[in-house]
């Protein structure tokens, strides 16, 4: 059986700088993968290539077929993306932004139907954004806007969810809320999740598989206890830390040594 999403020997460069250097990765259906690495290690570029908006040398296969063989419309029903930043130049309400996820689900000239409204409502409820529905998106705080973007991605009802720093602007409660939701959707609906993350401890708690990038290469790929060790963190981040595995989950937890 072919992997849900698979890349092989990816090469990507901005000018002379290699951002991704021979990256190969197979993502199985229903996996939940955290992509880690310092700034500029290639996380965002990898996610953009996985979602098909950046073309790179090497192969990207979605369910065994080259990603270029899909139309944008087909892709948007399989892969949903929560971008790192979103630019909104015109006044749209949060509900309008979430409903945009449904553009590829209904006829071009039709207004949104009951199924579309229902998908939007459910995803807004799940992300605690119902109360923001009629607010202008450009007037929301960073965290509120981020949750609206997550709601939009969920409303696409795709099989694969790619997220770039989904927790960046969120407060502690909403960070946990988002990761809990991901884990629930992953278990209940077999949603495949790939997220670029900075918080190593949250990554270790919620993601059974971690991929650690260093200068465009995969430094380590495996379970949290294999990836997050004092050695790897020293090698990749250049920082001395202490790693413990507290009860009850026994997932690695990183303590900074000042």
């Amino acid at each position: 059986m072919s992997a849900a999403l698979e890349v092989e020997d990816l090469l990507f460069a901005y000018g002379p700088r290699r951002v991704l250097d021979r990256v190969s990765l197979a993502i199985q259906k229903g996996e939940m993968i955290g992509v880690l690495g310092p700034n500029g290690s290639g996380k965002t570029t990898l996610l953009k290539i996985l979602s098909g908006v950046l073309a790179a040398r090497g192969a990207v296969r979605l369910a065994g077929r080259p990603i270029e063989a899909y139309s944008r419309n087909e892709l948007s029903r399989i892969i949903a993306v929560v971008p790192q930043e979103s630019e909104i130049h015109f006044p749209f309400t949060a509900a309008e932004i979430v409903l945009m996820a449904r553009a590829s689900h209904h006829e071009r000239l039709a207004l949104e139907g009951a199924a579309d409204l229902d998908a939007a409502r459910r995803s807004m409820a799940a992300t605690d954004t119902e109360s923001l529905a009629d607010r202008w998106v450009h007037e929301l705080s960073g965290g509120e806007k981020q949750r609206v973007m997550i709601a939009r991605a969920l409303a696409q009802e795709a099989e694969i969810l790619l997220m770039d720093e989904p927790a960046a602007f969120l407060d502690l409660k909403h960070q946990l809320g988002v990761f809990d939701l991901m884990r629930r959707l992953n278990r209940e609906r077999k949603l495949t999740v790939v997220a670029a993350l900075h918080d190593l401890n949250l990554a270790a708690l919620f993601f059974p598989r971690l991929v650690l990038l260093e200068n465009g290469r995969i430094h380590r790929d495996g379970a949290p206890e294999e990836v997050l060790t004092e050695d790897t963190i020293r090698q990749v981040y250049g920082v001395e830390v202490r790693v413990e595995r507290p009860e009850p989950q026994r997932r690695p937890h990183i303590f900074i040594r000042p």
């Binding site: 953009k48 979602s51 098909g52 908006v53 139309s71 944008r72 419309n73 892709l75 948007s76 029903r77 892969i79 949903a80 993306v81 971008p83 979103s86 630019e87 909104i88 130049h89 015109f90 006044p91 749209f92 309400t93 309008e96 945009m100 996820a101 553009a103 590829s104 071009r108 000239l109 207004l111 202008w136 450009h138 696409q156």
Partner: protein, 334 residues
Amino acid sequence: MIAVNGALLALLAASLLACALIGPVAIDLKRALADFFSPDAEILFRARLPRVLLGAAIGGGMAACGVVLQAMLRNPLACPQMLGVSGGASLGGILGMIFFPHWLLPLAGGLLGEVSWVPLAAFLGALLSMGLVYRLALFHGRLHPYHLLLTGVIFNSFVAALIMFLNSIVDFYQAQGLLFWLMGNLSTRAYPTVAFIAAYIAAGFLWLWSHGLRFNLITLGEEAALQLGVEVASVERQAFVATSLMIGAMVSVSGMIGFVGLMVPHVMRLLVGSDHRLLLPASFLAGAIFLCWADTLARVLLAPAELPVGIVTAFFGGPFFIYLLYREGRRLPV
């Protein structure tokens, strides 16, 4: 939201009638309807109505193009004058007026009379400049908004210099005529011409409207639009060609009437929001209403002389727009 469009439609119908009745010569609607050969009917149906209808079509078309260009270039300051085509059309028209001022074009083999060939020269200029700007702004199969904006603006300033050069070498009377045309003005044209132009603009508008949902997504930026299922490069190319063809034809007929395409979309966004499925028809109707009244003012303010309507749109549009930005600016994202 649909109610807003209904109200605008009713307002447009009322405006068409009112504007056709207002003019330097007072006319009586009852008499005009009762006796088709009365002077009242002659003025209403032959002189005023075709001009009012033409104004409505062009105002609507300009506003709709403004909406789409602002979405496509993700720039709330974009307007129809920004695409190189408006400069190209002006230059074509000016060349036609200078070198072949007396050429007339027979319509349907002369059966429908003859028309000035200036609009045709202008439209040719528009087509040529559209091809040129398209070539210059296309990189790797994409019309990048940034390139398109720069190319259009620079092309237009270059053409403006050429036009000023031509304007300074022709004689005084000709220069007056050129200036009047450049400021944008409407004039009475035969019904077949008006019908043709209106149908052309309507076809362009319907095409743009049918892509309304995609323009919503395109305002979110290229990557977001791609990820939500829009073939961005292809929609952008088609939208550029469609708006260019519309703007080229409108400038050819009426010169560059400014402000409608910049201002109306903003006012309508404040009123109905940014969903292009509603914003496009609302802007079309509001643009039509606005230009109807602006042209009526242009006809009566200095009667029996006429002002170029472009002066009226800028004169009333400018301060109103500044006031609106000042009052509503907080609600805008930029």
